[in-house]
Symmetry: C2
Subunit: 409 residues, 2 copies
């Protein structure tokens, strides 16, 4: 049996980016993978600006006028001062004139600091008078100023090729003036189901039949990952039909995923079709649920054969297939960082790595009572997976590896 | 100052579902919020079926034929047995005949167990012979059978109204035969930016100007939450223009969000327009970044005024606005479960609740050196937020509340 790590590594060695580059509007790039670094072409902020509504001034002016000799420069103190004339008014977005010596400039948050000013006094520490402004408290020199390039300096790489764009990344790229970004085309993933026992939701189930749920789990998860799903639907359990569908999948998609029919057994046309049209390796992965797993090629397109049980489909998709698919999409870092949590139950370790459906409670993580691979309800009930390594006995209170569902996205 | 909890609670008390119900295809329901419970109309599985490829039989037949008196019933043991005739072949999806006494039925994974059979022997423990099948190992009675209703029983509520649909929920609903689901219409959220210093990415920034990044962060995050964004763009900093935009937002959207202009200061037309057209409360929330926050109404539509600094926008959107927006969308549980993690740094607690941008490292969570609300880069650098309660001194190694970005989605 392959360990989970070995399976992932073997797949990653075989993986490569399968998609080209396109340039799209930044506002539409959420979830897309960068094809080129985003490098700062400007400083952010582009000039010193005010962090407050208040008055910009030259610190030394006030020290001379109001406080000469009354305290060490650079320490805040309360002062009573005569009013100083207000020589200009600088709103955000306007270009200031240099500050006249011995005056203050009315300034608003985000507005550019005039040349000659080095300090902003927040308006709550000032009193407006007819003749100008009176300062009630003197801050340190340099106070309340956001410095040019404080956020980002020109030439800095702020986002790397291979990064999937989150909302704040869009904001960051926008703050640098990027209106368009180079991203990889969405990966196209074909999914198909075989099995004459499968019925589409909405139809009647006859004896021996079940509803095809895997198609929905797959379509949902692949969509959540930002892939384009080529849904070939249900294919008759018959060699010709399966072969036709596989050829179509290889023409229309970058990667092909099927569910079921990858364990040892005679009733499987998918395996034969894949062998026929390319190559196929049947794996036994030390994972539970999800031991049987197939990797191969249909013509030149990678093929992933997930097991058939609903929970096995979800777990192998999230744990084993995800890094491979992300790599094919051009994502640079496909790793997953479990978060530490605490078990509220006791469970012996097994021969395989277990991915338990668990729920967050006050007491810690609780496991769904029935961890069978057929019980899809456990995945809806749970908040995520607990990774129990092979041979890892878990006792209540133990620190364990937790994978909230959201982490896989 | 309002505590973060008080702010969230106040907003939630004011919140109510603002959207109607629509019935859509299950396959398109990812991320949508259920408007009605999903209740099982069938048992899952609908009948006992085989968990393995193998042979279905009546356990007592084999005990009588092969092993009578040689071992306690119900314990697995190795047997050498004569062959038994194979009376039928049951593929998944076909309806079996009752099992003939003293025979075995060839059966495949997922196929229905014939009446009279109570055990499936996996094929690896059988030997096929001309005259039938020879059993090498006898499992316990009932082995390798998935029971009718084992996953779900008729009448069981499997998903509740107010639940946001994840991939596995789609699979679960499909497994019950649901082809369509009742969900709430997507919440429409209007966003608009004011500020004459703002420039759209792609244009040139002049003196005193900055690129409008908040629009991109907002649009991205609201989209990630499944809302429909009504983007009113940038509005001139002038009373008439702001008022017009607000009226349009109130007509076209369910909720209105702006950024900036909600702290004490004279240069703000948004506040005046909102007061004019409805009502406005200015809050000071004990949160860092993000203290100033406005809540009000424009005509009959809720208005949220986020602060203007880029990190404050993201943090208040995720922490304060998110529960409110989800409640307006009809989401039942808007709470957020931080995961425990460990700090790799030392930091004194402040007067407000701090949301630090942190990164996961081998040593634990590390904080971005510059936690200023202007440094949006910290959010792209980080893996999520660490919630440092007011007055909570953090020492390296302390267990802390971690909020990976993904958890907010």
């Amino acid at each position: 049996m392959l360990s989970v790590e070995e399976a992932i590594e073997t797949l990653l060695r075989a993986a490569g980016r399968l998609v080209g580059v396109e340039v799209i509007a930044l506002i539409e790039a959420l979830g897309r993978t960068l094809a080129a670094d985003v490098v700062a072409a400007i400083d952010v902020p582009p000039a010193d600006n005010s962090a407050m509504d208040g008055y910009a001034l030259r610190h030394a002016d006030w020290v001379e006028v109001d406080c000469a000799g009354t305290g060490a420069e650079g320490t805040e103190r309360t002062v009573t001062s005569p009013s100083l004339p207000v020589s200009q008014r600088i709103a955000a977005g306007s270009a200031p004139a240099p500050l006249t010596r011995g005056t203050a400039a009315r300034i608003f948050t985000g507005a550019e600091i005039p040349a000659g000013a080095d300090t902003v006094v927040m308006q709550e520490h000032c009193e407006e008078m007819d003749a100008g402004v009176r300062l009630l408290r003197l801050p340190e020199r340099g106070a309340n100023i956001r410095r040019r390039g404080q956020d980002i300096v020109i030439g800095q790489r702020v986002l790397s090729a291979g990064h999937r764009l989150r909302p704040q990344d869009l904001g960051l790229a926008a703050s640098l003036g990027a209106a368009r970004v180079a991203v990889y085309r969405r990966l196209r993933v074909a999914i198909l189901s075989t099995g004459d026992e499968l019925v589409e939701p909405g139809d009647e189930v006859g004896p021996g039949q079940i509803y095809n749920s895997n198609r929905f789990t797959l379509q949902g998860q692949l969509t959540a990952w930002g892939f384009e799903v080529v849904d070939l639907g249900m294919v008759r359990d018959e060699h010709g039909a399966v072969r036709e569908a596989m050829l179509r999948a290889a023409r229309e998609a970058d990667v092909i995923i099927t569910t079921g029919g990858v364990s040892v057994g005679e009733e499987d046309h998918v395996k034969n079709a894949v062998k026929d049209l390319g190559s196929l390796d049947l794996w036994r992965i030390a994972i539970r649920p999800g031991k049987p797993f197939a990797y191969g090629r249909v013509r030149d397109k990678p093929f992933l054969g997930l097991p058939g049980n609903p929970v096995s489909v979800l777990v192998t998709l999230l744990v084993v297939a995800r890094p491979f698919l992300f790599a094919c999409q051009g994502v640079a870092d496909t790793s997953l960082h479990a978060v530490p949590h605490f078990a509220a139950f006791t469970r012996e370790g097994g021969a395989r790595e277990d991915y338990l459906r668990v729920r967050v409670t006050q007491a810690g993580l609780e496991a769904f009572p029935n961890q069978s691979s057929g019980v899809l309800y456990s995945t809806a009930w749970g908040d995520g997976l607990l990774r129990q390594k092979a041979g890892q006995d878990i006792r209540a209170g133990d620190r364990v590896d937790f994978l909230p569902w959201a982490l896989f996205n």
